[in-house]
Amino acid sequence: MGKSMLGRSVPGNSILHRTDARIKFIAAILMMVATLSIRDVRVMALFLVWTILLMAVSRIRPGIILRSVRPIVVIILFAVILHLLTVEGRVLVQIGSLKITEEGLLSGLMTALRLSLMIINTSLLLTLTTTPLAVADALESLLSPLRYLKFPVHEFAMMMSIALRFVPTLMDEAVKIMKAQSSRGANYDTGGLLKRAGGLVSILVPLFVSSFRRADDLAVAMDARCYRGEQGRTRLYAAKLTMADVMFLAVAVLLLVFALVSRQLLPSLGGLLGSTLSVF
């Protein structure tokens, strides 16, 4: 309970942990675009190697990293099956009207890799090796140009980090209230949709009330610790960029460029594959 993926960073002191959160943030976005644009299976293999390298460098148990893929396993399977059954090409197996083609197999594999690598890269860079506060600080720093448009950048980042901090607390609280109301005879698993929605009131109202109380308490606690917005505040994780940070970013940019260029230059392996532009 309360063990959501959100805000679950794994402590460590690897190169990846020490890399500037802003760099990791940008790199995560670059990698996402790159994995989405790869068409060639050899380039995908290269990205697979890169991801495995990142995993090794992070010194986090592979089991923990792979767990981040778990929530989307169903989506991946669905996409793979869709590809297997719909892509035309050289038939490998045929059962009745169902045909599995070589091209279908390949594009299914590509899709599975594309989605998994995207998730693994993002969670490795942003959730597993970076504390939520560092992410919030990075976001604040990256969004800072928006200040000129009067966007409350600091407040936005602070809100995000506090929200992350309270996710587990509120989840525990919701469970507790639900159990308390069940003990008073509330029944949340039978009855029509309307009745069930009505039942939610007995959970949501106390949850809202307690969230407001918590927000009040927290505001006072922040005041008591001299919080006065961003004015005069040290941004802990907005340290100066090191050479390693710049190198890391350079590698990420190179990979993206390579992925984009390969679309144009490399002859496509699976004939129809190139036309599969969508994520699936």
Binding site: A180, S183, D217, R228
Partner: protein
């Protein structure tokens, strides 16, 4: 001249004055000061104005009239407010609602970051503060993985990182179990001794006020009386009339002194050891009478039918990235109709998991739970049993949600599809039992904490359950509120309901329960009458429970006297037992 850290001059403060509502006066005409390096306790009932005074101390609230000065600076002065808050750090009651960072480290860094210190300095202070509070190993942990005691220590560490001269603890131990409370208190004492930090503690745990240099009794937004702990607690009637209590060793010593006609030195009996020494000395010269035994509640009639039977119940839940955690290990127990069963145990001993099995919130998978003849391993049986078993979690006031008190209490009987007249009758009956008939039309959200607690309990009683289970029903209430609530629960029991009360408070449990079940690490460590359960200090210690003070006092003297009946649950009995005991003949 800065011998005083905090000074109040004629301070008054009202809530609601700004919003144009009828102002509620919380502090009136208050003047007092706190000396640098001292340890001051503010004690008083719930709602006496203690917390408001605390918040006036570091400018979280500003006085309507009068002045508050910290280290010679005015809290009303905008230019000094941040220096004042740095100087006077504050630790609050609820461990969850004061942690801002998403990791221990980030939380400690929050204050110093606000001060604009260089990052390296902040990191140095983070390590330093975590080392001072013994949390260095938890540096990278997210706060929700910490225990209550660790969270409060983290809050202290976060204040320390701002290098304060003074720490204000606003009921900082109120939500902790006894073990964690002692732990935090020890830390506070150490910080004061080693670093000379001024400590202002707001509490209604009288034991915590005993070690203070000075005690202010707060009542109606002002100081009712003050003095050294010895001065204050010597005025037993005055303290009690403020809804507070006097530590048991003091009361026993005073009773002995009164009955033996021997004067006492109040500085001596303020400590537990001193009180024992004093009593021993008095008894040396005192004639002994006949043997008198403590009044023990008559043993509960064991021929009554069993309403709850738990046999060989085990339960474990999966843990993230580890082996499953065993919450219950083959627990067996029987509760008889009309009995009051206490369940005691340290945090994480399985109390909460056990009671959730008793109304089927957790279905029994391994072992059997039979409640009023229904086997709770079956889902349809659970549905039938729910209205019969009322279960109240800790801080049940958090579950209120209706517009009025009456509607909220009516929730449970309405779920039972009773007729409107019947629902109304049930509501009135439940409200009457808890003395809240007069507030039925009010919104539960505008009541005091104690009243809301009563509304929540009434909301469970309205279903007219045969078995009522309460988890720490008196948590957070002041001594008088605690006594009142237990008395109401006793009448419920007298009317035939079976009560199961979960609590750390061994003094209350021994006084009210027929039997006590002690859980330890998910298993049953012992079950028996209160006298049997508290017979061995070692047994309680191993279960991380506190020995009730009267028994602890008598145990300290047991070696000196033969036939001393030490199983007394209240101070009057303890004094009587002492006066009638015979001194053991000198060895030889």
């Amino acid at each position: 001249m800065c011998d005083t850290v905090i000074e109040f001059q004629n301070v008054s403060f009202s809530y609601g004055a700004m919003q144009g509502q009828r102002p509620i006066e919380a502090v009136r005409q208050l003047s007092f000061s706190i000396e640098k390096g001292s340890y001051v306790a503010l004690i008083g009932r719930n709602g006496s104005g203690k917390s408001t005074i605390a918040r006036l101390m570091n400018g979280l609230l500003l006085p309507d009239q009068g002045l508050v000065m910290v280290d010679g600076r005015l809290t009303a002065d905008d230019d000094s407010i941040y220096e004042i808050r740095r100087q006077c750090g504050m630790v609050f009651q609820n461990p969850d609602n004061q942690i801002i960072g998403t990791t221990v480290k980030d939380d400690v860094a929050f204050g110093p970051s606000n001060l604009g210190l260089p990052a390296e300095e902040i990191m140095r202070r983070v390590d330093e503060s975590l080392a001072m509070t013994g949390l260095l190993d938890l540096k990278e942990r997210p706060p929700h993985e910490l225990s209550g005691g660790q969270k409060q220590k983290l809050a202290i560490a976060s204040v320390l990182a701002m290098r304060p001269g003074c720490i204000i603890l606003d009921e900082a131990t109120a939500m902790l179990d006894p073990v964690a409370r002692r732990d935090v208190m020890a830390l506070i004492g150490e910080l004061r001794k080693q670093h000379g930090i001024t400590m202002v503690q707001i509490t209604h745990h009288m034991e915590e006020a005993l070690t203070a240099d000075y005690v202010h009794v707060i009542s109606d937004g002002g100081i009712a009386f003050s003095g050294t702990p010895a001065d204050v607690f010597d005025q037993v009637y005055r303290v009690k009339s403020e809804g507070l209590s006097v530590p048991a060793h003091l009361e026993i010593a005073r009773l002995i002194s009164e009955r033996a006609g021997v004067g006492y030195d109040r500085e001596e009996i303020i400590s537990f050891e001193g009180a024992v020494r004093f009593v021993n000395r008095v008894m040396e010269n005192h004639l002994t009478g006949h043997i008198n035994e403590c009044v023990v509640k008559p043993r509960f009639d064991e021929s009554r039918p069993a309403v709850v039977e738990v046999t060989d119940l085990s339960y474990s839940y999966p843990a993230a990235g580890g082996p499953p955690i065993e919450a219950l290990r083959s627990v067996s127990m029987t509760v008889r109709q009309g009995e009051i069963l206490g369940i005691a145990g340290h945090t994480g001993s399985g109390k909460s998991t056990l009671i959730q099995h008793l109304n089927g919130l957790i279905p029994a998978h391994k072992g059997h739970v039979i409640v009023l003849g229904h086997d709770l391993s079956e889902k349809k049986e659970i549905r039938q049993i729910r209205p019969q078993v009322g279960l109240l979690f800790q801080y049940p006031e958090d579950q209120l949600f209706e517009e009025t008190v009456a509607l909220d209490i009516a929730f449970a009987p309405k779920q039972q599809k009773r007729s409107p007249e019947e629902v109304e009758r049930a509501v009135l009956r439940a409200a009457g039992r808890l003395g809240i008939e007069s507030i039925l039309d009010r919104s539960p959200f505008e009541l005091s904490g104690g009243q809301r607690r009563r509304v929540a309990i009434a909301g469970v009683l309205a279903a007219e359950p045969a078995i009522v289970i309460l988890d720490e029903p008196a948590a957070g209430l002041d001594p008088a509120g605690r006594d009142d609530l237990f008395k109401d629960l006793l009448t419920l029991s007298a009317e035939g309901a079976t009560l199961i009360i979960v609590s750390h408070d061994m003094e209350m449990m021994t006084r009210y329960a027929d039997r006590i079940l002690v859980l330890k690490g998910g298993g049953v460590a012992g079950i028996g009458t209160p006298s049997e359960i508290i017979a061995s200090a070692q047994f309680l210690d191993q279960a991380h429970l506190d020995m009730p003070a009267p028994k602890r006092f008598l145990d300290a003297l047991a070696d000196e006297y033969k036939d001393l009946d030490t199983s007394c649950f209240n101070v009057g009995d303890a004094a009587t037992a002492l006066l009638s005991a015979k001194r053991r003949a000198p060895h030889g």
